[in-house]
Amino acid sequence: MSTHAPAYDMAIIGAGVVGCAIFREFSLAGLRVALVECGADILSGASKANSALLHTGFDAIPGSLETACMQEGYARYQALHQGLGLPLLRTGAIVVAWNQADLAALPGIVARAHANGVLDVRQISVEAVRAREPHLADDLLGGVLVPGEAVIDAWSAPLAYARQGLAMGGTFLPGTCVTGGSQTEAGWTLQTSQGPLSASIVVNCAGNQGDVVEAIARPSPFEIRPRKGQFVVLDKTAYALASAIILPVPNERTKGVVICRTAYGNLLVGPTAEEQQDRESATVDQVMLEGLLAQGRRMIPTLAAEPVTTTYAGLRPATQFKDYQIEALPQRRWITVGGIRSTGLTGSLGIAAHLHRLYARHFGPLPRPADPVLTPVPNLTEEHPRPWQQPGRDEIVCHCEMVTRGEIAAALQGPLPAGDLGGLKRRTRCMMGRCQGFYCTRRVMEIAAPHLPGLVTPIQGNGA
């Protein structure tokens, strides 16, 4: 095997947002890249459950790699989003002080923001906070305005990155679990559930499995300590209750509970921050969810009248270290991208750029880039026209999110089709609205069942 040229120049293990962004980066740079994913679709792990904020890095640790990647990622997303059809809600954020200790912390928040180069951050008065956010509870004491914070979408961004990677000649290998590997003269032969796979360089973007995959190359210098975040999504009627992202004054461990809009017109409350051993399963818990809602009502009392649309939980691959764990191992022909927590959505394009430079430094120049092919994802937001508004539209299948049959059919075909029901929902928003499939499950199944076997079985001829 080792005498043959590897099948790929690069194998990226893990198709979360970071893997997808790196896949895009190196496919655009002219490498033959394989994006190797254990799940049936992209975003099968940590990346699918995020708060979907685009951070300026105002509150990050100055001088850290995380801050650098976030800020470069922030700038690149701003430059890229229109071409890829990605949403960007320029909401801004307000860090709200609810007590004297909070209030005392505000100048420090401003100072850190300035140290991070986010110079438009400033403290604002109680009146100014109220004028911007009239639904906030009366007892607020002040705030810090962060104009650059924004809302994006955790699903369409990585989808667009992966699709652009595919359009540039990359290969996506879903359902391919890496179980081991050995270094060869020409790089690596990875053992996978689909057989061996050879690549010149391996990039470990395995998220919550990061240290397990790292052990293929070396004893992992970091240990993944999954941190769970639960969220509550409120009905679209709650959207108007907050215009900026409402942030609490953070503590050492967590940024605290945030209230923000979503790209699709809902209002989000979360996350919790709970450490756990289990790397696979992010469960929601009624008591914690009720706690989130109580905290939400504490900040915006009228939230109490708003129905819950859904709840979710995500596992973030935290480690014993605060910063990202990114390292190139030239001898091992291996690049480690570990410990990318919830900032990874913002940071992903910056991490990809950082890896580009690491690669050039350690593994030699990259081939001349071809002209990038733009692969915009279908628009799912109400900011731009959608298929349901067009004359001659086909049947609306999901009436809560106004998803047409054509949109669902398209997501099941073409480059990077939905690999499972979750992937279909994330690509189209069908079954994601206030009824959560009460009205559309049957129609979605009729359209999707031929592509996603195993969800339903015909009643006649039950296969026995």
Partner: protein
């Protein structure tokens, strides 16, 4: 074109209203139905139990739905047309195959019906696998889709609809492993439990709480708690029955007054909303009544619309607000426009409760009776017209 009436929703309430309006001589009634066919939720419950109250027959749901559509002939039924907004003064914005447009009428009836509360809104704990769904989605999969999403689900809840789900399961060769009820007794009327246990062979576990749903891609088990002890029940699906919510997002986000207690639009005793061009009937008014009751409301609302079109409906001006108090979850109509006829009020208790049901006019008890209220049962009160004379506000309580 200004029509006499636009009806939002082609289910039992909407189609019955259309029939009534057509029979009263209105030949320009438009029914807007977002699905490819009218008939409403009964389309997906193929066992008998429909038509008793309004047609005095016992039909299957799909037959009942067809009869409702046939009886509404003379009205234009526009399917595949979804209302996206209500416009003050009697307008609706719709998306149909022809695109987005605005339609206007002298009277608009909201009859958008009801759905079940999904898993997220119930804040249920656990993982989020495939195989957790409401009775409505389940019945539609089985009867309209001809497929089953699981083989051995548990059924959460014991409202009437849970027993409908049991019958559906039997039709599909699905064997539910248990019915779970948090309360000490089932919600549906008595024979339900007996039928479940002895006819369908499904154990009913009362005083049992669902702790968590377990499973990866699919449901693998539920964790339940009974008398302080937890137990794991292996299953491959969860049917969430009951916990109905009116499909009233158009109201909550729109120009009409919304009642957070019913979850539907606030109406007066003529089924009239806060904007007098709008009326509402059927299950959009409050959590569920049987489709026959919804149909009868559709007929009554349509009669009020006929009167409104003839200029014969009393002005909404001097209305008496009605409040639900202690022990009552809600009461409707939420406003009364007194006239010569007695007025009916409908209420539901917050849970099982024994006490005295009192009507207070300006704080003074004017009607009182003993009541043993059960969850999800309608409480009806009739107020003689004389009782409302010179009254400024009314409240109803169960104490």
């Amino acid at each position: 074109m200004m029509r006499s009436a636009i009806i939002i929703g082609g289910g039992p309430a909407g189609l019955s209203a259309a029939r009534t309006l057509v029979r009263a001589g209105h030949d320009d009634v438009l029914v807007l139905e977002r699905n490819p066919e009218a008939g409403g939720l009964p389309r997906f419950a193929a066992h008998p139990g429909w038509g008793m109250l309004d047609f005095h027959r016992l039909w299957s749901g799909p037959t009942y739905a067809r009869k409702l559509v046939a009886a509404a002939r003379g009205a234009e039924i526009r399917t595949d047309t979804t209302v996206t907004a209500l416009l003050p003064g009697g307008g609706v914005e719709v998306s149909g195959p022809g695109g987005v447009e605005r339609l206007w009428a002298h009277t608009v009836l909201l009859a958008a019906g009801i759905r079940e509360m999904p898993r997220g809104a119930r804040l249920l704990s656990g993982t989020r696998p495939w195989g957790v769904m409401g009775t409505g989605a389940f019945q539609e999969l089985v009867y309209a889709g001809g497929v089953r999403p699981f083989q051995q689900p548990v059924i959460l809840g014991t409202e009437l609809v849970a027993f409908s789900a049991l019958l559906t399961a039997r039709h599909a060769g699905i064997r539910p492993v248990a019915m779970l009820e948090e309360a000490p007794r089932i919600t549906a009327r008595r024979p339900g439990e007996w039928i479940a246990r002895h006819v369908l062979g499904v154990p009913v576990r009362t005083a049992t709480r669902l702790v968590a749903i377990e499973g990866g891609a699919r449901v693998e088990a539920v964790l339940v708690e009974h008398a302080g002890r937890q137990e794991r029940i292996a299953c491959d699906g969860v049917i969430l029955s009951g916990r109905f919510v009116p499909e009233a997002a158009l109201v909550r986000g729109g120009p009409l007054q919304f009642d957070a207690a019913t979850g539907g639009p606030a109406i007066d005793n003529h089924f009239r909303c806060s904007d007098p061009a709008f009326f509402a009937a059927g299950n959009v008014l409050r959590p569920v009544e049987h489709s026959g009751a919804a149909a009868l409301e559709g007929i009554a609302a349509a009669r009020a619309m006929v009167r409104a079109l003839a200029g014969a409906l009393p002005e909404p001006g001097q209305s008496i607000p009605v409040l639900a108090q202690g022990g009552l979850r809600y009461v409707y109509p939420q406003r009364l426009v007194p006239g010569d006829a007695p007025i009916r009020l409908y209420a539901r208790a917050s849970g099982e409760q024994r006490g005295r049901l009192r009507v207070l006019a300006d704080g003074r008890a004017v009607q009182e009776r003993k009541l043993h209220a059960l969850p999800e049962r309608r409480i009806t009160l009739t107020l003689p017209a004389a009782l409302l004379r010179d009254v400024e506000s009314l409240s109803v309580e169960l104490a």
